[in-house]
Structure formats: structure tokens, C-alpha cells
Amino acid sequence: MSDRSPTEGLRRLSDYEWEIPRDFKAGMRVPGRVFADDELMRLAAGDRALEQVANVAFLPGIVGCSLAMPDIHWGYGFPIGGVAAFDENDGVVSPGGVGFDISCGVRLALTSLSRDEVKPRLASLLADMAANIPRGLGGRGRISTPEKALRIVFKGGAKAVVEMGYGRSEDLERIEEGGIAPGADPTKVSARAYERGHDQLGSLGSGNHFLEVQFVEKVLKPDVAHAFGLSEGQVVVMIHSGSRGVGHQVCTDYLDVMESVRRGLAMELPDRQLSCAPLGSKQASDYMGALACAANYAMGNRQALMHWTRMAFEKHFGASERSLGMDLLFDVSHNIARMESHVVDGREATLCVHRKGATASFPAGHRSVPAMYRDTGQPVIIPGDMGTHSYVLVGRKESMSLSFGSTCHGAGRTMSRSAARKKIRGEELRARLEKEGILVMAGKPSLLAEEAPEAYKDVSRVVDVCEGAGLSTKVAMLRPMAVLKG
């Protein structure tokens, strides 16, 4: 494929939509559809991402198109930014469509503090959060969960973690699915995943995971921003983390299971990472039961991380987190598969929607949107990069027919980690960001280089395309003040 011109074989449908026709690659059951402008398409076509969109279209029972959001880039199995829905009757579930970091996601906590109030105490606040929050390679969590406690978290998600004393019960209304992924079956999680999970709850991890103190630089949709409790100059905290070793092990275990299913059914797939099982089969049901456990662990993990963030603010501002207005705005998972109702060809159908580096973007009135956001649509939290911006978006009606109610999940990388390390020096980057008023703390300088703003696509362009295409609407633009990395 590499000798094709970037858009050869593609059909442009509109300013922001491209079709990958079925003849792009023999074996595609449906076309691919990529939401991108010229520049983002040029970047997508620069690696293997489009081929991965085509590969997903090989999977049995795929409905509509194999989709890619504007932050699409080369992943493994599905592209990052990939969305695909499968019919409950003849479709499949594929662990490769969720990934190893099951329910990796983002949450945003509000404060009633202004940028000017936080700025003088920022360095000590960051140091305190760094001391409070385990992170990095092998970083153990602060909550020990022996087998029995782990089973409770696997079943109860963020609710179980709130009941352990980390946070408030009203936080749960502001998490997708109320903080409890349905259908969790702890008996479908291997002993190995239990072993990896017993001491990792409440740890940030490494790589692209982070905790950032940010401020609202610009409100872009005042009525919705008001409803979300966002105003210019206000300080907020963004937390990006996932299910740690539990998710990695669940995915590894079930890839093995799915690979034997694939072999048994003699299913021809272009990539073993796409191995899958028919929905309704024992293997698919077992995976869905384990997947929900890992998703619950991830939502619980972010709940604990937010709790310690609140504690750090309490200490530094001498007031309770409630009086500091530290309400949760919302918590979204961007690596997930869920059974959802969608209208297909005018009829309601139950589909297994895979979002691999994509976020649900449900509109006002949608049954999955919690009551307090029923009139606006769900908040969508989009982490950008540590040097520029992040965004809060709101779900939109058109996304239901365009993308099974999905939008982007971030900026998306454009530079490999090794290229970033060669080009950028971590310490220089830290100094540069500090000059721009952004404090950064990371376990190692090379990680800073890998996560440098230059290594990512322009997140503003990504969210503009999401808005232009009708997937979501911009509500507020956030700018980092302090960044904590693994």
C-alpha cells in the first residue's frame, strides 16, 4: 500500500468525509468511512491507518461502515480512532477493537478557583499531587485489593471505590453508565488478571496517561458551558488513565481465546489482532463479562485518582473539596465495546459498538445521557497535548446516524516515540513549557520528549473537523497549567 498516492482509491464525500470503497481491499464486507479534512487525511494516509480501517471491514456482521474519527492513526488491529458496530444476531466482538488498555478514559473535575488563585501555589500543588499519586513503570496503587475486594470492584466499578471512601456518591451520576459497566462477571477474569490487579488500583500508569491542572481559556458555546459549570479563567483538573495490568491481561487472555475461535471457524482475517467470536457464543459472552470487569476497574481507578487530587487541593487551599467546587463534570471511556441501541435502516437494532480511541458523543435526550445533561447532550472530554490545548465538547444528534454516536478521543499522534526522542530533548521541552507557564513533572525526561506537543496532531484541527462533520460541538478550550506524567 505504501506506494499508493495518499488518497488513491478513496472517494471524497464532503469536506470532512471520505469513503474507502469495498474494492480498496478484497474481502471488505462494507466500505470504510473516514472523517477528516485534507490535512488530517494526508496524515492518516501517511501510515498504515487506512489499511486498518479496511481490515476492520472484513469482520462478520459489521453494520454500516468501518469508521475512523479525525484523530485516526496507525494502531494494532483496529486503527486508533476506529469505530465499528456489529449486529447482535450475526456480528462479533473483537478484543482488538477495544485494545489492551480496556476503558482507558478521561475525566474532568471542576473547581471554583480561578487561574490567578491557583498560580502562586501551583508548584507545591503539583509536588503534592506527585507525592500522592503513584505513577510510572511498575507504579503500585495505594489501594490494596485482595481477591474479595477486587471482585467487588470488578462488579461495582466506581461505585465500589466510592463506597471504600474515595469520593462522593453524586460523582457516580457523572460517569458513563453510572460508573458501573453492566454485565460484569468476575468469574470470567483469569487468576493472572486478579494477580496483576490486586495492588494497582489508584495508580496513573505511564505512556500517554497524565493528570493535568488546566484552566478554561475560552468558552466556545456559552449556554452549554454554563450548564456544564464552565467559565473562562476557571481551574479544572483532567485525569487520563485506564485499567492498568487488569485490562492488559484480560485482552491478552481473550486474544488467545479468540484466536482459537478464529481457527476453529476457519475465519479469514487480514490481521490476527482482529480475531473475534460471534456475539452470543460462550467465548464472546465470557469476554464481554471480563471486559466489563476491567472497565469497572478503570472507572474505579480514575475515581481514586480524582479523590487524591481533591485531597491535594484541600490541603493547599485550606477548604473542603466541596467548598472548592470540585464536582466531577464527566468521565468517558475511549477504549470500549458496549451493547447499544441504534437505528439501522429505520429500525431499532442492538449493536455491539467498538470504540478504539473514540468517545461516545450522545446528544440531548439520549437515554444513556445522565439526567443533568439530558437537555444539553453528554460532555465529551478531549485531551490534547501538554503544550497546547484540551477541549470539552458536547454530544450531537447527527453523530447517531453518522458514527453510532461517536467522536474523536484526542489529538492523535503524528510522530513515533523514537522520532520524538531523537528530535526533542525532554529537559529543553520542560524549560520551554515552563516559560509558557506550564509546569511539568515526569518520571523521566525521555517520556516528556515522547509526549511532546510536536509528536501530536493539532487537537484544534481535530475538534474543528468533528464539529464540521457533525460528530460533536465545541464547548470550551482548556489550557494546561501543570502536568503530571508517569
Binding site: 492513526h73 494502531g75 494494532y76 482488538g96 489492551f100 513503570l137 505512556g207 492488559h248 486474544l255 523521566k444
Partner: protein, 143 residues
């Protein structure tokens, strides 16, 4: 000849290509490559040993299981490994099997220089092949 490896470009993740004179050495080289991404393994002492036995239907599946087995032990027991002695054999009734003796030590923040947090070895474009007596593998890791 011991195995050689180099990293390959991948936008989001990290890949390696490994070459060796034999299949057993190839599996040793792949493990060395993976732990070299995770830490500077020249400083990892070989004070603890583990034995690993695995079977699979082909070399690709065996490579997937081997590397993820090591990641599981590393994550669950907070270990880094630097020594790998591997024997890979074809099983008479079909399939392949691996016996390994691996050595390393518990992670030590004071002495070990951390690298990437590897979530898993993926099946994406995972390849194991031999040509004119030279074995090679291509592995993409999720980081």
C-alpha cells in the same frame, strides 16, 4: 551468533525486528529486545530465576504467548529480566513448544533506569520466519 534487534517506526507504539541464527536464539533475542525497551537491562542482575514452559500451534502464537508471559511475570512480581535461555522445538503431533530458563531481579527504582511501560505484545503484523538459515521476527508492542 547471538540475536540482533532494532526498533522500527510505528506512529503510536513501538516495534522491533529481531534476527538470529536459530529459532531458540530468536525467542531469546525477542525477550532481550522487549526488556531493553522497558529498562537499561545492562544493570539488571540475574539473582532470581524462573522456568517457563509453553506450547502453541505455530511460531507466531508461541511468540505472542512467550512475550506476554514474560510481561505478566514482570508486572505481577515487579521483576525485570536480562538473561534468557530458550529451547524451541517442534512437537511430533503438530505445534511448537518452548522451555525457558529466565533470570533477573526485582525492579529497583534506585538502580534501574526505566524505559517504556509495555502493555502487551500484540498480534498486529506479528511475524516469525526463516530464510536461508536466518530466523527473523517482527513484533509491535502496545505502549
Amino acid at each position: 551468533m547471538s540475536a540482533t534487534f532494532h526498533t522500527i517506526e510505528h506512529t503510536a507504539d513501538i516495534g522491533v525486528e529481531v534476527e538470529a541464527a536459530g529459532v531458540s536464539e530468536l525467542f531469546e533475542g525477542a525477550a532481550t529486545a522487549m526488556f531493553s525497551l522497558m529498562a537499561d537491562i545492562s544493570g539488571v542482575r540475574r539473582t532470581e530465576r524462573r522456568n517457563i514452559s509453553l506450547a502453541a500451534s505455530d511460531h507466531v502464537e508461541l511468540m505472542f504467548r512467550w512475550l506476554n508471559e514474560l510481561l505478566y511475570i514482570s508486572d505481577a512480581d515487579e521483576m525485570l529480566f536480562s538473561g534468557f535461555s530458550v529451547t524451541v522445538q517442534t512437537v511430533p503431533d503438530g505445534g511448537v513448544a518452548l522451555e525457558a530458563d529466565v533470570s533477573g531481579e526485582p525492579m529497583d527504582d534506585e538502580r534501574h533506569v526505566p524505559g517504556e511501560e509495555i502493555k502487551a505484545a500484540t498480534y498486529h503484523e506479528l511475524a516469525v520466519s526463516s530464510r536461508d538459515g536466518l530466523w527473523s521476527a517482527r513484533i509491535i508492542f502496545d505502549v
